[in-house]
Amino acid sequence: MIHLRSVQKSYARGEQRVLACAVDRLDVAAGEQVALIGRSGTGKTTLLHILAGILRPDQGEVTVAGARLDGMGESARDRHRGQHIGMVYQTFNLLQPFTALENVLLGALFGRGAGHDARLRAEALLQQVGLAERMHHRPGQLSVGQVQRVAICRALVNDPELILMDEPLGNQDRATGGQVLDLLLEIARNGGKTVVMVTHDPESAKRMQRTVDLATLRSDLGAAAVASHGGHA
């Protein structure tokens, strides 16, 4: 499902380039559930954005869901992301003016299309996560746990092969967040979906089948060479 080879991503800061992420080799099998851990500044979020096709690496090969993202143009990566990847963010990133159902449908609109079938699927997903009565509420009218569930439905609405999560338990209480995360992992397991979650929380990482420390993926560079980059990790 995921194959990374000699991937590096750096940013310009003034006249210097700051290395934000470096991965020699990473392979994730289809259906596998992997936690990427690492201390702050190790490039977890940057790596997630590379896997999503939001960022293109400076060098290296990135193959996700059968597509070589490092050679793709931006528009093709956008389309690929919309159709094959579902994303869940730490802050959930729902759009405030839209209802829960509409937020889920937005995922479909930019993915496989927001027609009648997508609407039925979005409604079914919201029912599955216990939001049948709240699907016409806006994010501001929902609890944090409910918002998290809406975000999960949005990630699943296109029936993606890969789900990427960035600190999905974020700022909420562990018990509630953990239940929702378990629900997502169960849906993913039943659907044979691959899940990659970046986190610095060991408890969350334990829920996954495999844990990969990002520092260990950079044998040739060494952890000490990793530069801190607050905005991207």
């Binding site: 389309r79 992301r81 994303m87 003016p97 479909a108 609109l109 993915g111 927001a114």
Partner: protein
């Protein structure tokens, strides 16, 4: 869900800014539509109103435009008088060429009005309803139609007899001839009949058998007074023509001359060399110099028209050709309308710029929202389409409301405009150019949205996703 529904939602979220920006679009569109409508309907009204008038004879010292506007469109007071003899000569063929070159020459005399609406009263002969022809809806010309009743009876010969009688009476009075002097002709009961236009009947609630009393001057003005001796029974109501004929009241011209107070100005008297005007007022008058305000003339054919153009010669009257005069007049009106239209387009341009500014100013606060949509798979052109769609929808709604406002204003001001200009505004009539205006304003708005849309589509996804505003 569609892209445009996101655009629509974004407009609703910023409702106050949306409404304020839309107001300028509404005003500009309404202004432009109103200018175009007034210009178009004025032109239609004026062009349509000359359908039955081939040529009009009026006083020499007025302009041709004044003659046409007063005779056909009832604008202003009559610009002057000229003698009845010219009408007689036209009818007999003495004025132009060696034979009669006109199918009809119908005398008119005006000066009074009826009601506070100041419907003009025109004294004329019954040929106005038997020989004068009107072009209904672009079809072949035919005599005026009546929706009720029929014409009064008053022939040209009766006018000539009355002129003789009045002249004899006036001459005896002016020259202080010894008694017994000729008696002043009296108003005959059969002359106290009126034919009224369709709008006169509708506005005043007149039916057959109803009565009207002419007013000297205009109702409410200093010196106005009613002429109860000339109160007439309505014997005919004309069918609508959508022309000033609808607001006109026709009386027998003889009645007009016998209304109290008209006798002093009925005859045209020239002051001979070496005499004072007071001396001239004591000279005998001629029947042929009874004053007319206009003659409605129809040449027999092209040859007749040419002769009338080339050979009509009088030091007191002239022939005006509405088909020549009105287009020139409309061109001048059109130039003014064009200038107003340019102003309306400038207002639209300013409104479009306000759209650009309004949406551009929201781009910073929308970076995260755009980044989220991009992270869900939205491509740059889709973000561009959403923002351009916002501007286009804003403009489209504004233009629609502007058109509705224009039609609403036409409905509200219909009566006022008709009273002031004689132009009847067809408020319910939608024209093809309104669809083009709607499209044009929408397109302009979409174009105005391009700059913020480009800025929005360039939003960096990773940078803005990471921020928690």
């Amino acid at each position: 869900m569609k892209l445009w529904s996101i655009s629509l939602r974004n407009l609703r979220v910023r409702l106050v800014a949306t409404v304020l920006t839309m107001v300028s679009i509404v005003l500009a569109t309404a202004l432009y539509a109103a200018i175009l409508t007034m210009s178009e309907q004025t032109e239609a009204r004026y062009k349509g109103s000359i359908g039955g008038f081939q040529a009009v004879v009026g006083p020499k010292d007025a302009s041709q435009l004044e003659v046409v506007l007063n005779t056909i469109f009832n604008v202003d007071v009559a610009p002057g008088l000229f003698p009845l003899r010219i009408c007689t000569e036209l009818r007999s063929g003495k004025s132009a060429g060696r034979r009669t070159q006109v199918r009809y020459a119908i005398p008119q005399a005006r000066g009074d009005s009826v009601s506070r609406f100041n419907f003009p009263v025109i004294g004329t002969i019954d040929e106005m309803f038997s020989r004068f022809e009107w072009q209904y809806d672009g079809e072949k010309r035919e005599p005026l139609r009546f929706q009720a009743g029929g014409p009064f009876v008053y022939a040209y010969d009766e006018l000539l007899q009355l002129a003789d009688g009045l002249a004899a009476y006036e001459t005896a009075k002016r020259t202080e001839a010894p008694e017994p002097r000729p008696a002043r002709p009296r108003i005959q009961p059969q002359w106290k009949k009126a034919v009224v236009g369709a709008r006169v009947a509708r506005t005043l609630g007149l039916g057959l058998g109803g009565t009207i009393t002419p007013v000297h001057g205009k109702f409410g003005e200093f010196g106005y007074h009613e002429h109860p001796e000339a109160t007439c029974e309505v014997v005919g109501i004309l069918a609508p023509t959508n022309s000033p004929l609808d607001t006109t009241i026709f009386l027998p011209i003889g009645l007009h001359y016998l209304i109290d107070g008209h006798e002093g100005g009925v005859f045209l008297v020239e002051t001979p060399p070496g005499k004072t005007p007071d001396d001239a007022r004591k000279l005998p008058v001629e029947a042929g110099r009874i004053g007319l305000t206009a003659i409605v003339v129809d040449p027999k054919d092209h040859f007749g028209a040419r002769l009338l153009r080339q050979e009509f010669s009088s030091k007191e009257a002239q022939v005006a050709w509405p088909a020549d005069v009105i287009p020139k007049f409309l061109q001048q009106v059109g130039n003014a309308a064009d200038a107003l239209a340019v102003i309306a387009w400038l207002v639209l341009l300013v409104a479009a710029i306000s759209i650009t500014v309004a949406i551009y100013n929201t781009m910073n606060e929308r970076r995260r929202e755009i980044a989220i949509m991009r992270s869900l798979g939205a491509r740059r052109f889709q973000i561009l389409a959403i923002i351009v769609g916002e501007a286009a929808l804003l403009s489209c709604f504004g233009a629609l409301l502007g058109l509705v406002a224009c039609h609403g204003a036409m409905l509200a001001l219909q009566g006022v405009v008709e009273d002031a200009t004689g132009v009847y505004l067809e408020w319910a009539q939608f024209r093809v150019w309104e669809a083009w205006l709607l499209l044009g304003v929408t397109g302009l708005g979409a174009f105005a949205g391009l700059l913020p849309a480009i800025k929005g589509s360039m939003t960096q996804v990773a940078d803005n996703l990471a921020q928690n505003y």
